[in-house]
Amino acid sequence: MIRHLSRRDLIRYCGAAGACLAAGYTCSEAKADEILKVGIALVSPVAEVGWTKQHSLGVAAIKSAMGDRVEVNIIDNVFQPQDAERVFRGFAASGHKLIFGTSFSHGAPIARVAPQFPNVAFDCCAGSKVLGNLGAFEAKYYEGAFLGGIAAGKMSKGGKLGFIGGFPIPDIVGPANAILLGAQSVRPESTCNIIFMNSWSDPGKEKEAALALIAQGCDVICAMTDSPAAVQAAEQSGVWSTGYASDMSKFAPTKQLTAFTVDWSSIYVKDALDVVAGNWKPQSRWQGLKDGVVKMAPYAAGIPGDVRAILAKAEEDIKSGALQPYAGEIKDQGGAIRIAKGAVMADADVRSANWLVAGMLGQMKG
């Protein structure tokens, strides 16, 4: 029963198929008007702690704020840009009206897809571009890092901190500087040994790094890695630690001073409500403690009352703007004055930090 297809037949069939598809598409479009479909690409499956876990809080917040007026679809393990582009296009083509990227690596692909779907709202965490229908948002980690630094400076015996970060990039170097500045604000002679893993996740190496720092006399381990291995190793060795992204106190029940965590819920919910109301505007947001995007994990029970009072005061002052973590005078490792007395580091410089403050023992570049 194989019929010979002429070219004209073929065109006719294709046209018919296209019409069917189009009909189906408009149907789904019509439905999407009633329920907001939100698409979110996550870099990894949701774990108990870490970056993706904090984004899943935003998903939960949208659901609880909007109930059955929203349908949230998540695709996880989307890290590579080429995968991300396919996922974003898929979301947009299947009637999602609000689409989130959750990583720096999503920035370029989402910026390529967004112009092709002008009626869809795109928003990208750690994204760098803002277009007609693409926003970007990021957290002021350094505000939380500064508070963690105050706790570290107060609780350290010798004022020697140790920092473990993934890569020597501004997103990690900036908070590292803020931690030491926080510590120096309560104990001027504080120093910080710094180690970069040059990998995003290697629990074994993170533990070795923590042990190396402890052996070198550091008694507060400030970890800015995705796994709790360093915080756990500090607990096992009986030294203090600070965590990052999520509260890691399950892995260090007595020794995690605090953790500076991120909570994107307010951004996710506002985006969703604005899209439904029809007044969503693409914007670049960079929020911290005041907006609740950066939150401190509960302080360790071992922190005495007077230190808690200092921390509470500092948190209030950062929220009100009275305390600027990057206020001058700030010198770099070489002793050169980078921020003059009375000045505050410009936002652009904070976001492109590629130098270490005085008191850092470690190498940024060759």
């Binding site: 040994n193 970069f196 790094a209 550091c218 190498q363």
Partner: protein, 308 residues
């Protein structure tokens, strides 16, 4: 001051090398019989999550270790059926196993993300453990660290001092000849592959039980691949595998100490040192073409179909 830093560096070296020793020594036996199993990374992950799950359920560490070894053997059985019985391409089958192991372990480990285990106890040898430097470096580790060394010695003795070891090597050198004189080539390769799998499982178990007692997805972080490379660069000789693992672990720990001290070298370069140093040293000591020809199994990676 020197002793103060020397002890944690050397002691850290031995700890960091242990998972590599397990995985590499198992793979060495498999490769000696002509089987390349690129699934080591995946099997290690399956071993890690199995050990974590069993220990988390409250069973003692040695049960968790045994379970991980069993799970590793089982995972390599999947590979063996594909690559040995069905004679599919060994490299493709191994890669598939790595992908399977990574996904399967993530699936099983999904609920373990917030859990923390107690590490297995360190052995305290009277007198020896109290010696300065040598004591804490050599005689203050857990049983799994010593087991890795014992297994390495046993593998050396097995391969070079027993008839069964000779048969394994013959199967790797000339499978058709071994078959012709009556040895069950496929069966022997099954055994070596499953030994390799159980060792990779143990290497993975070491991560969960002793090294970092938590579960993080893909927490082996490429150690399976390092183990595979060690076997080749060590020219398929157990002693050199041990040396290579210590070297890799040692430089890894050392570069972390160097970074912490603030040495004026970019961290990217320091982080790549373990790879560079291990390759250079092992290639240098194994560069003799005679040694390579004598040790590289001739039928490595080739499927065996009995002829005649």
């Amino acid at each position: 001051m020197i002793e103060h830093l020397l002890v944690p560096i050397l002691s850290g070296t031995i700890v960091a090398a242990t998972p590599l020793i397990y995985a590499a020594i198992g793979e060495l036996v498999a490769e000696r019989s002509g089987v390349v199993n690129l699934g080591v990374e995946g099997i290690m992950l399956i071993g890690t999550v199995t050990a974590f799950a069993v220990a988390f359920a409250g069973y003692p560490a040695f049960v968790a270790g045994l379970a991980a070894a069993g799970a590793g053997a089982l995972a390599s059985l999947v590979f063996a059926v594909l690559a040995l019985s069905l004679a599919t391409n060994q490299y493709a089958a191994g890669l598939a196993l790595t992908i399977l192991g990574s996904g399967l372990s993530a699936f099983i480990g999904h609920n373990f993300g917030s859990a923390s285990l107690k590490t297995i106890a360190k052995i305290h040898v009277p007198i020896l453990s109290d010696l300065p430097v040598i004591g804490p470096v050599l005689f203050a580790h857990d049983a799994m660290t010593y087991l890795a060394l014992a297994i390495t010695a046993a593998v050396w003795w097995f391969l070079y001092r027993t008839k069964a070891g000779l048969v394994v090597r013959i199967v790797g050198e000339a499978p058709q000849s071994a078959h012709a004189i009556g040895y069950p080539v496929i069966f022997i390769r099954y055994l070596t592959t499953m030994f390799g799998g159980s060792m990779a499982g143990l290497g993975g178990a070491y991560l969960a039980l002793a090294y970092t007692p938590l579960w993080v997805e893909n927490m082996t972080a490429g150690r399976g691949w390092i183990a595979l490379a060690l076997v080749v660069f060590a020219a398929w000789r157990p002693g050199r595998v041990l040396l290579g693992a210590w070297l890799f672990g040692g430089v890894t720990v050392l570069q972390l100490f160097a970074q912490g001290i603030g040495i004026k070298v970019p961290s990217e370069l320091l982080s790549s040192l373990p790879y560079i140093a291990t390759i250079i040293v092992l290639v240098a000591i194994s560069r003799n073409p005679q040694t390579l020809r004598l040790n590289a199994p001739v039928s490595l990676g080739q499927s065996f179909r009995p002829q005649g």
